[in-house]
Symmetry: C2
Subunit: 343 residues, 2 copies
């Protein structure tokens, strides 16, 4: 018996296109291996337009259309009057996949999309950090009240299953500390500085490669990593933190002489997001730290991310993998959908 | 609603005692968090004797008795006439936890224990490599025919969830290669050789610390790692291999000059178990390999284990954690039980 799962996508940028590529290539595999037939029935993108076909859209054809024209205009399935909220309300999607742009100040418009979807009894899978960092408890209550689930694996380390590993597998081992490299841009810059580049030159190269934005503040001042620390606190430590409760320092003050001093001491600078249970509560920080080379996070180079769990029963466990990217983040959505329907 | 899960343990050595310690400390937590009340109702150990109480045994009291006397003799719950098979047949256990000694040649007596338990419709959780390496397909069919499950997380990397990560989370990303450090003893020896020790001295130290047996052949010639490669081939690559189909070389021929030559080339020797899909089938090997220091497995030191997955959609993902130990291996049993009853 194969169960159909109808997906409504909000956003068809890199992540949405990565998801569409995976489904174009592997939806038949997943139907055979997991008994779930994943079909995109609707897409709504603020710039590219909206499309809808209740029986399913051809993922490969959507990718070709975007590749050719940059938008959905003129497709027979086009819904020119639909925005994301209309898509949520009027499509037959079982799962809404929220991939719009992250806003860590307001969480909008993604929080509105979550609420619309959950209150219409649709599961929500999201790669958007805003709603999880800012409104998780409220959204979780809404999901529970409507008998649906949220999957947010892609908000931290893309498809590298940091959240699922922590919540499902390691939680019963009693996690007392989590630390990690949660921002690929800054880790790339630090890796280049290790090779002798200045901070300014490394940042310029990261911008050229598309790792860093024109305004790099969110990455280099640690706001992005702090957002992930807030998400980890909520999901792994059951603690609601505000972003400004994370003790945050970026990498902009690090100099080549700092890097050289660490190297001659057998250490390496990393921008470490950290959560540690103490007798009085939870210490949360994002700070450059000098790690000994033997530390499992010290060898993580380039844009790769990593998370290091300290547990009572399993000691130290480290997971290393991609932190961004079209296919890895698209795959996070697959992981969440398969987990929702496994249960 | 809390569901009771009654456990029958075969073997009460290090792993069984680690499991009992976790349950003594945390069974109430698991009941609250997961709705599962895990109770040890029976233990059968070939040397220490057998005990049984249908309503549950006090795990802390079992540990005290073993610590004081080294056996169960004289406890009111003692069953002097029971062996493991009698315990499986006559106890009310829902799950049989197989923790007897691994025999990679015959798989016995563990294969008999698996068959008895599965045919009596009891789930089996095991840390014993023998049955999984030698008879998995037959046992899986027996489990399916009887509507019960097998959990074998502890057979590779103790409680570090290498199998669960691969089978549940990464399989849909299409794993095309797996490589890893699957034997802590040899990794400890290689790490000591990196610090200048001879192979013989490093082996002697590993034996003194209890990492290596008096006869170290199983570890240093790569048989233990090859057994794990066979298990990974079965569970992650859906391929049945015999142990002698793994191309196997141990570490006994490595000299200090080999280690020094690697170091001056910026590389490090590791005993790598590997599985790679090719156009003609699956290449399986256990061999010393020189890895560049930037490889995620190169920095794994001491008795720690690690697994490195190469996937189509998620790129390279590495998991590092303990490969043995009383609590980590006991925790593998907890992971499997929670997963069986989640489903």
């Amino acid at each position: 018996m194969v169960k159909q799962v109808r997906l409504g996508l909000i956003g068809f940028g890199n992540v949405g296109q990565g998801l569409a590529q995976i489904l174009a290539e592997s939806a038949a595999d997943y139907a055979a291996a997991r008994g779930l037939e994943l079909r995109i029935v609707a897409v709504s993108d603020a710039l590219k337009g909206s499309v809808y076909a209740p029986e399913g859209l051809d993922a490969a054809r959507l990718l070709e259309k975007i590749s050719a024209d940059g938008n959905f205009h003129g497709l027979p399935e086009e819904k020119p009057a639909w925005d994301a909220v209309a898509m949520i309300r009027e499509s037959n999607a079982d799962v809404i996949v929220e991939m719009s742009y992250t806003d860590l100040k307001t969480g909008q418009p993604a929080i509105t999309h979550f609420k619309e979807a959950l209150s219409h009894r649709k599961h929500v899978v999201s790669t958007n950090k805003g709603p999880v960092a800012l409104a998780y408890s409220e959204l979780q209550q809404l999901a529970a009240a409507n008998g649906v689930q949220m999957g947010v694996e892609g908000t931290v380390m893309s498809g590298t299953p940091a959240l699922r590993l922590g919540m499902e597998i390691l939680a019963p081992a009693h996690i007392h500390r989590v630390m990690g490299i949660f921002n690929g841009t800054t880790n790339y810059i630090l890796t280049q500085m290790e090779s002798g580049m200045s901070y300014a030159a490394a940042l310029a190269e990261a911008q050229k490669l598309g790792y860093a934005e024109a305004d790099p503040t969110g990455d280099v001042e640690g706001f992005d990593a702090a957002g992930k620390v807030v998400i980890l606190a909520r999901l792994l430590m059951n603690t609601a933190l505000r972003l400004d409760e994370v003790d945050r320092t970026g990498i902009t003050a690090l100099t080549q002489s700092d890097v050289a001093a660490a190297r001659s001491a057998g250490e390496r600078w990393k921008l470490i997001g950290s959560l540690e249970k103490t007798e009085t509560g939870l210490n949360a920080s994002v700070q450059p730290q000098r790690l000994p080379l033997a530390h499992p996070l010290a060898g993580v180079s380039g844009a790769t991310n990593a998370i290091h769990f300290s547990t009572d029963y399993l000691g130290e466990v480290t997971l290393i993998g991609p932190g961004a990217g079209r296919l890895p983040t698209g795959y996070a959505v697959i992981e969440d959908i398969l987990a929702i329907y496994r249960e």
